[in-house]
Every structure is written in structure tokens, then in C-alpha cells.
Amino acid sequence: MIRKLGMVLALTVMVSMGMFSVQSAIAADPIVIGVPTSTGFLEGKEALKAVNLAVDEINATGGVNVGGTKRPFIVESADIRDAAPGVPVPEALLGLEKIILSKKPAALIVGPFRSEALMAGMDIIAKYKVPLLGTIAMSPGSEAKIKKDPEKYKYVFRTCLNAVHLVKYLAGTMALINKEFGFNKVYVMHQDVAWARATAGYVKKMYFDKAGWDILEVEAFPTGTSDFSSSLMKARAKGAQVIMPIFDMPQSGTLVKQWNAMKVPAILAGFISPLAGSEAWNTFDGKIVGAMNTIFELGSAMPSDMHAPSRVFYDAYKKAYGKEIQAGHGPAPAYESVYILKEAIERAKSIDPDAIVAELEKTDRMGVMGRVKFDEGHQAIYGFDPKETCVSTVFQWTEDGKRTIVFPASIAEGKIQLPAGLKAVK
């Protein structure tokens, strides 16, 4: 009798534990977000942190509502090192495929750093049918592939800006400089990678050539270049009034230091990764007065008080990690992408990739960068007013170590100032 009672008790306990664990498993069954990117580079590192911030915020509210069940997000990251000099694209893609196969993510966010890796990785993404919300690689080539074969490549989206949108901002900045000071002689220096080459080419074709600027030279520098003395000497010798740099590599900080040390009498206006964040003032000992830099997405490295969500995100990041965002490209769209994914899953009531993709295409939300909508190439639309589109910003470093947004007009805080030692020609 006692034996029978004991067996019944044991069975009851075992069944209860089983039910509990099944219930626990269902309740805790997380949705995996994969983040394969170059986490050893600033943009990749801070984009990953931004994803983690968004995931923590969402999980704090219970998680994602998938057809009535709340499920948390978890983040699995992989350093695919595609941004490191000398790393072949196939090596980087091994990391991409590995995270898909081993972690089985419902979606990927951030994605390859280099467009070369993204373009090649699109076939892997299509093969495994994993939605990707890219936030760093910028070549418009990916959109062309999507438009050419939408059924195959529909899983690839981009929430950061692309080279074409960046060109609009650079062109707008150059037009402002020309209007304010009459400058029209430019020396273009760009990194020898797909996005920078495309950007330099488009700016030349779509603005400089049409506006009648004198393009003194367009120079390409391999990733890893650490001496820009020859080019700066040529810029000075040829009478450059504006130097337009387009770099994301860490070594481009040397360009800024050499520009200052060699006292080249030209405005530095373009994109140099080390100049984006607030700590650049200390890094370069304040020797960057007058330099202008582009922030690719509002909220990355710089918020605007005229668009509250960017300030909320920027401050939340600082509170979570103890320091301000320094990367001018990547973090804001990475953060935003998590919420975009969340809403798409909730509308789809499923984590089926095709269902997610169908809902991603319908995205229309007010976020950190402005209003987020995708075009037919799955590219987030960027313009000049955060109420209508996502926006970038162009700022200028001032004498007191602050950054003033000078473009676009919808969020501008001041006008471009001519640095000391330079004279306007009108």
C-alpha cells in the first residue's frame, strides 16, 4: 500500500515537473536575433550594443507578442571580421553561414560591415531564408539585386542609409559651402572600398560636375593606409579650398592629425569615422575646429533636440553603457531595426521568414532616425525632414568643442562658420 502510494506520489511529482518545464519552455522560448558583423570595429561594436539595448527594453516589457504568446528576444553575435584589412570575403561569409546554422536566428540585424561581403552574402541569406536588417554596408548594389530577383533576395533590408542617399547629403553640404563662401575647388580623398568609391563617384557626377566645381583630384586609399602626407601636399599645392574625405577606417584619424599638422588651408568636409563622436574633441586635442562631418543616421553619434526620439535613444545608450555613442554610422538603425522586427513579427503573428518579410515591407513607423519606410529595393527612405523620412545630419565642430548641426535645414542649429585662417572668395 505504502509502495503504491509512493509510486503514485512519485508519478505525480514527475508529471508536474514535466508540465512545469514544458510550460516554462514555451514561456521562455526566445526568438534569436543574430548579429554577424565586424565587432572589432567601432561601428560594429556600438551597433551590437544598440541591438542589446533595444532587446533589453523590449524584454523588460515582456517581449514580443507572437500570436498571443510573449517571447523574449536573445542576441547571438559573431565577429565575422569582414572590415579587417586582408580578410577575404569568403572567410567572412563562413562566419555568416555559421551563425545561421548554429544559432538558427529568426532574423539577422546589422549584418556584414563591407558591401563586398553583403553582396556575396545575399545568396547565403536567400539560401537559408533568414531576414536581414542591414545597418552598416551601404552599396546600392544590393538593392539592384533585390529589384532584379525580388523573390530570391526579398529577405534583405537596409535601415541605414546607402551611398546614393549619402551623396545627397554631401552634395547639399558642398552646395552650402559654395553658397556661403564661394569655394569651388575640391580635393576628394576616399577609402578604396565599394561604398566609398560609389559615393565619391556619385558626388562627382551628380553634383561637382553639374555645379562646375574644379575637382583637383580624386584619390583612392586602400584600407589600412596610415600616411596621407603626399595627398595633403598635393591638395595644398593645387590650391584646394575643400578637402572631401570619405573614410570609415580607424587609420583615417591620421588624416585629421596630418591635415592639422601640415596646416593645409582647406575645409575638411565629408565623412571621417574618428571625427563623428563627442570624444573626438579630446582625441584630437581640439584641433578640429571647423571640420565638418556627416552623421549617417540621426541618433548615431549625434541626436537632435528637434526630433525627440533621437535624443531619447542617445541618452538611453549613454545611461546603459556609461558613454555617448561615438560611431556616426550603425547604432541608430541597429536599435531601430530591433523595433521594426518586433512590430513585423507581431503583425505577422509568426516568426516564419516569409511572413516577417511581408510585414517588414509594410513598415511605416516614427523612429530614432525619423519616419521609417522601405522602398522597392528594401532600402529605408532617407530625405531631409524627419517627419517624412529618415534623415542624416551634417555638423561642424565649433571653437568651444561643440558640434552644431548645419544641414539639413529641418534640424539645423546654426550656419557653417569659416575656420580661422581661411578667407571666403565672395
Binding site: 572589432g40 586602400p222 589600412g224 603626399s230 601636399m233 587609420q251 591620421t254 599638422a261 582625441t283 561615438q326
Partner: protein
């Protein structure tokens, strides 16, 4: 432009020589190709940065501690790793490369990536030399590399330890018969090489910033210069630094920046094709003569 390019080519030469001399010192004496050299360079840089910015240690003391730490690290690597595989070239390469990789990836893993990781320049001034602006830091590199090479020459010709270095480099077995402890000298050579890497970092890092990737760059450049000049030959390092340094800057100015990176690689190919032991190297001299 010609004068300016020549000035910066000389500076580039000095930078390459400074990067390569420590690697060459280690190989020339102990025969160990220390593939952790780039990691030692970055380790010293991060060490100085950490001591100054996190522990608020005065800069000069931080530099001294970093150099000594590198010397000690080199000694430990030799004593606990390389001693066991000494003489097995492939194992030495794999062991040192593994150590270097682990160190550099550790920096990446801890997130020590960003533009705030840099070292201050010695003096924030520029000078006009023959119509060209040159910053003080680059002039300091030029001066220090001359002093270092001269100092190494004096050390290896006028001190007992230095003469022992040369003895081991010339013929280890004969040196042993004179009572020179080859393992101790090899330990010193790896330590000194690591110390020189720390000094190179002190001078060169302020031109840019510290990043784990710098370790790989320094190793590749040091290797390129040493292979071209001849592994183990200080004269070869100087000559190769001149060749590569001038070729890079003149290519940059007169041909195009995107060709610069392949200059050192083409130079390696040419030298290995024509004289595999390098310009002043002696490893395969007998075979080449035959």
C-alpha cells in the same frame, strides 16, 4: 612636391626601420622569427594608455613600466614557450603566431576599440623644412631611429652582452664553447626585441590610434622589410626600409595612392625571385652560389 615627398619618404623609412629593427634583432641572434612581435607592440601601447588614462600614472613612469613589462613578457614567452620548441622553425612560428593572435584578439574581445585609444604626441608643433610642414613627432621618429640603430651598433660592438649576441648569431656552437649560454642570450634577444617594439609604439602610435589591427600591420611591415633586407641583417633592414619607404611615398605622390599597398609585396616578390635570402641575408647564400 619632390622635396616634400623626399622628406616624408625619409620619415617613412625611419618608421619602417623602427618597426622592423626589434623583429630583426630577435631573429638575427636567436634565429626565432617572433610572430608575436606586432602583439607586443600593441600591448605596450595599450599598457601606456591604460596606465595614463585609467590609473592616472604619470606619463614617463607609464612608459618605463610598459617597456619593462614588454621586456619581461618577451622573456617569459621565450622561457615557457619557445625554449621547448627551439630549433623547430615551424613550431616556433606557430607558437609565436598563436600567442600574438591570442593577445590581439583579447584586446578586441574586451572592446578596446575606438578612437579614444591613442597616445599623446611629445610636442604639438609643426616645423617648416624646405617649404614643407612636418610635425615634431615625425621628426622625433627620424631622430630616434638613428639613435636606436647607432645605439644597437655600439651595444653589439662594445659590450660583453652585445658581443655575446654577435657570437651566437655568427656560430652558436662555437659560442657555446666559449661559455656563452645560448638560451640566456636567446631569452635576452626576445626580451630586447619586445622592448624595442614598445619603444617603436611609443613613437609611432601618436601619429594615429591604437587598435588590435595595428598589431597585424606592424608584423606584416616588419616581416616585409626583414625579408627584403635579409633576415638577421641590420644593414639589410636599413637598406630595405629605404627602398620600401621611398617606393611607397613616391608611388603615392606620382602614381596613385591605391598602388602604395602593393609596393612592399612586389618588392618581396622581386627579392625572393632574384635573391631569396634577401639583400644582405646569408641563410641560403651557399645554395644560391651553387
Amino acid at each position: 612636391m619632390l622635396v616634400g615627398t623626399t622628406i616624408y619618404a625619409l620619415i617613412n623609412t625611419a618608421i619602417l626601420a623602427l618597426m622592423a629593427i626589434g623583429f630583426n634583432l630577435t631573429f638575427g641572434i636567436s634565429g626565432v622569427a617572433n610572430f608575436a612581435y606586432g602583439a607586443f607592440y600593441v600591448f605596450a601601447a595599450y599598457g601606456i594608455w591604460g596606465m595614463v588614462n585609467l590609473l592616472h600614472i604619470p606619463y614617463l613612469i607609464a612608459v618605463l613600466v610598459a617597456v619593462l613589462a614588454n621586456v619581461l613578457l618577451g622573456a617569459l614567452v621565450y622561457r615557457f614557450v619557445l625554449l621547448r620548441v627551439r630549433g623547430q622553425a615551424l613550431s616556433e612560428v606557430i607558437a609565436t603566431f598563436g600567442i600574438g593572435l591570442a593577445m590581439l584578439e583579447m584586446f578586441s574581445y574586451f572592446g578596446w576599440v575606438g578612437f579614444e585609444y591613442t597616445l599623446p604626441v611629445f610636442l604639438d608643433r609643426s616645423f617648416i623644412i624646405a617649404g614643407t610642414y612636418v610635425d615634431f613627432q615625425r621628426l622625433a621618429i627620424l631622430g630616434f631611429s638613428v639613435v636606436l640603430i647607432a645605439g644597437l651598433w655600439w651595444f653589439t660592438h662594445h659590450t660583453a652582452t652585445g658581443l655575446a649576441f654577435r657570437g651566437i648569431a655568427q656560430d652558436e656552437r662555437t659560442a657555446l664553447t666559449f661559455g656563452i649560454d645560448s638560451d640566456w642570450i636567446a631569452t635576452l634577444s626576445v626580451s630586447f626585441g619586445a622592448g624595442v617594439a614598445a619603444l617603436a609604439a611609443l613613437f609611432i602610435i601618436p601619429l594615429g590610434s591604437i587598435s588590435p589591427g595595428e598589431g597585424y600591420d606592424v608584423l606584416i611591415k616588419a616581416l616585409a622589410v626583414c625579408i627584403i633586407g635579409g633576415l638577421g641583417s641590420t644593414g639589410g633592414v636599413i637598406a630595405a626600409s629605404f627602398i620600401v619607404g621611398f617606393a611607397e611615398r613616391f608611388t603615392d605622390t606620382y602614381i596613385g595612392s591605391h598602388w602604395t599597398m602593393i609596393v612592399s609585396l612586389v618588392a618581396i616578390l622581386l627579392v625572393l625571385t632574384i635573391k631569396p635570402s634577401g639583400l644582405f641575408g646569408k641563410q641560403k647564400e651557399l645554395e644560391e652560389r651553387i
